[in-house]
């Protein structure tokens, strides 16, 4: 039995410690992991918990992220709770196995500390790893600060392991700005957290020798499509479970989560849609804009996959101009948020002005002033009733301005 970890009502944790503590409290049977900046402290913190007797499961320091995720897949198929953490290049190395995890319907939890993808090599935060894996068939939960990283990691186990879902879940947090920024976190006590997460429910356990199971079969044109369709169906049906888990968590902690996050959107004319720590900066910028009389609001995804199609459009209401802020190199098109928001709005018959801002790549600082400038541009567009600025702009870039369309 693992020792109880004495926790204060308020702890000062960075995002990595918050995620590591959630993994510890979830009583994970197998953590198979490989270190990579900026998620390394998750693995280090967990190792120390193990060394001090606070962890009952096994911690396997494997030789690559590919093996880390492969180990999680095997452990989960064996019928035990499995989790890991990674970032950036490590995430990229895992990608093959991410698809195997979701296709095999294994409820693994992966905490992703978002970081830029090389080249050029860069250890700082952006969302290119998140974007790389967004279609891998995992539920994607997004946090903006350490408290949320902690809360969502605990909830990830409940959501993924629910028998109506049975899918792997990623919890994202920004590299450094969240992962290495210590803030106040109100944790659950160990017994409370364990009670909330519950016992792992094994399905088709390989360890049950009385009932042999075959995991990871081949399907060709006769069955592959049906399998993938079922997987998509169950992902699309997971909203109810996600809401249930969010609801139960609120009852226990008072902390409220929803599929989509909104800030001052009730009367907003202009809105920034962003992910990660930028959401918190945008809130400050929105407040400052409101002091100047601009009705500014913020929208973000709490759940990026499954894509909350109705909720995101509802959240944007009748806002006149929207900035879709993508923190990932778009690679020859518009950013993902621009494309997906544009599609959702159009399909729902909405035609606000939609601008795409590419920002913060490789950890480039995104200041309140920059976000205010975005609001200023949106406001100008809203008042003119047309896009007065290029549809895609790179902001915070040194040298000549870069924009398209």
């Amino acid at each position: 039995m693992a020792k109880k970890f004495e926790l204060n009502e308020i702890e000062v944790w960075d995002g990595n410690m918050a995620a590591a503590q959630a993994l510890r409290q979830a009583d994970v049977d197998i953590v198979a992991a490989y270190p990579i900046t900026p998620s390394t402290p998750i693995v280090q913190n967990y190792s120390k918990f193990l060394a001090d007797g606070y962890v009952d499961g096994e911690f396997i320091m494997v030789e690559s992220e590919h093996s880390a995720m492969s180990g999680c897949v095997a452990a989960s198929a064996a019928g035990v709770r499995a989790a890991t953490a990674t970032s950036s290049q490590g995430f990229a190395l895992m990608v093959e196995v991410l698809y195997q995890a979701s296709g095999m319907r294994l409820p693994i939890v992966l905490t992703v500390v978002n970081r830029a993808l090389a080249a050029p090599l860069n250890v700082n935060g952006d969302h290119s790893d998140m974007y790389l894996g967004r279609d891998a068939g995992w539920i994607n939960l997004c946090s903006y600060n350490p408290q949320e990283a902690y809360d969502l990691t605990l909830m990830a186990f409940r959501i993924g392991e629910d028998l109506r879902v049975r899918l792997p879940v990623m919890v994202h947090q920004d590299g450094f700005l969240c992962s290495h920024t210590a803030q106040n976190v109100r944790p659950l006590q160990d017994e409370e957290a364990r009670e909330f997460v519950g016992e792992f429910k094994a399905v088709n356990s390989m360890l049950d020798v009385s009932d042999p199971v075959t995991h990871g079969v081949q399907t060709e044109e006769d069955w592959h499509f049906e399998h993938k369709a079922r997987q998509h169906h169950d992902m699309m049906s997971s909203f109810d479970v996600i809401r249930e888990v969010f609801g139960e968590f609120k009852e226990r902690t008072g902390r409220e989560y929803d599929l989509v996050y909104t800030y001052k959107m009730d009367d907003a004319d202009v809105a920034i849609v962003a992910l990660g720590t930028t959401v918190e900066s945008a809130r400050v910028a929105a407040d400052q804009m409101r002091e100047k009389g601009v009705k500014a609001g913020v929208v973000s995804f709490r759940v990026l996959r499954p894509f909350p199609f109705n909720e995101i459009v509802d959240a944007l209401g009748d806002v006149k101009a929207i900035a879709a802020m993508d923190r990932s190199a778009p690679g020859g098109t518009f950013g993902m948020l621009f494309n997906e928001l544009g599609a959702a709005l159009m399909a729902k018959g909405k035609r606000p002005i939609l601008l795409n801002y590419i920002y913060g790549l490789g950890g480039r600082d995104t200041t309140i002033n920059m976000l205010r400038e975005v609001y200023e541009q949106l406001n100008e567009c809203a008042q003119a009733g047309e896009a007065k600025y290029p549809l895609q702009q790179f902001i915070g870039l040194r040298g000549p301005k870069l924009s398209f369309y």
């Binding site: 049977d29 096994e58 452990a75 198929a77 064996a78 020798v209 075959t214 399907t219």
Partner: protein, 332 residues
Amino acid sequence: MVKKIKNLKEFSLSNDRFEGANLMCPGCSHNIIVREVLNATNDPVIVATATGCLEVCTAVYPKTSWDVSWIHIGFENAAVAAATVSAAYEVMKRKGKLPPATQKMVDEGREPKIVAFAGDGGTYDIGFQSLSGAFERGHNFMYVCLDNEVYANTGGQRSSSTPIGASTTTSPAGSVSYGEKMQKKSMVEIMADHGAPYVAQVSPSKWKDLVKKVQKGFEVYGPVYINAQSACTTEWKHAPEDTIEVSDLGVESCVWPLYEIINERDEHGIIYSTKLNITYRPKKKIPVEEYLAAQPRFRHLFKPENRHIIDLWQKAVDARWEYLQRREEAGV
């Protein structure tokens, strides 16, 4: 619990946990080896398989040829899959949370045996990192390489196990080439150098030797590597009914020597003894040429301009046989 096996008839009539009803080529050695490995024990077995012939031919939804728990993840991760299933088993055993039927087996002294199967592509090449990592970490499992010296599943491309002179689809013999240029990688020694307690090379044609080694492997704690010669009727291009004969030619010519390497550790885990035993010594070592002649993948070597490669083969096999004998004699 070691299974007692009296004779081949009895052995071949053991309950199959791997069904012959699968899609493998007629005459495929993989089938024979997998049956021999699984039938070497009556204890529960859990299997991980790399992508490859064995995987694509035995688990095509909605059918399965496996009456043991089985997992396939990818091409390069059979070792970590088996290793982590083993770790999961140990965690649940320690926590007292094994499924009841499994706990009952364990109480009867019949612990599950966890085995990974992979081809030479999944072992010598793309799976090597995962294999090396799993062995370094010392997980308790057996890894069996079904070594047919080629990427057979994808149409016969060379691997780092392909021997010199073999014509493959990516090292074809031609008017200016005798085929594969590199010597085969020494996988058995590489795995023994990881400090594994037991490492052995086997051939399905010498079934008693194979079963004995698998049983020894099941009895030790830690990672065990078995390198199994797997004559491939499709890529070695011999007739399906000649599989065992070709295998035997490999053994009798010492191209495929049968031996084992045992690393013994003290209570601190320090290896105090490494011993290599040759487990089969041909009464009369036949020329390598006979082994090569039986396989059309080497046919071009018999042209006058390529004969020197056959001489090179003989030299390499002689030198290696010498080396093994010297190690055995020296007890290292």
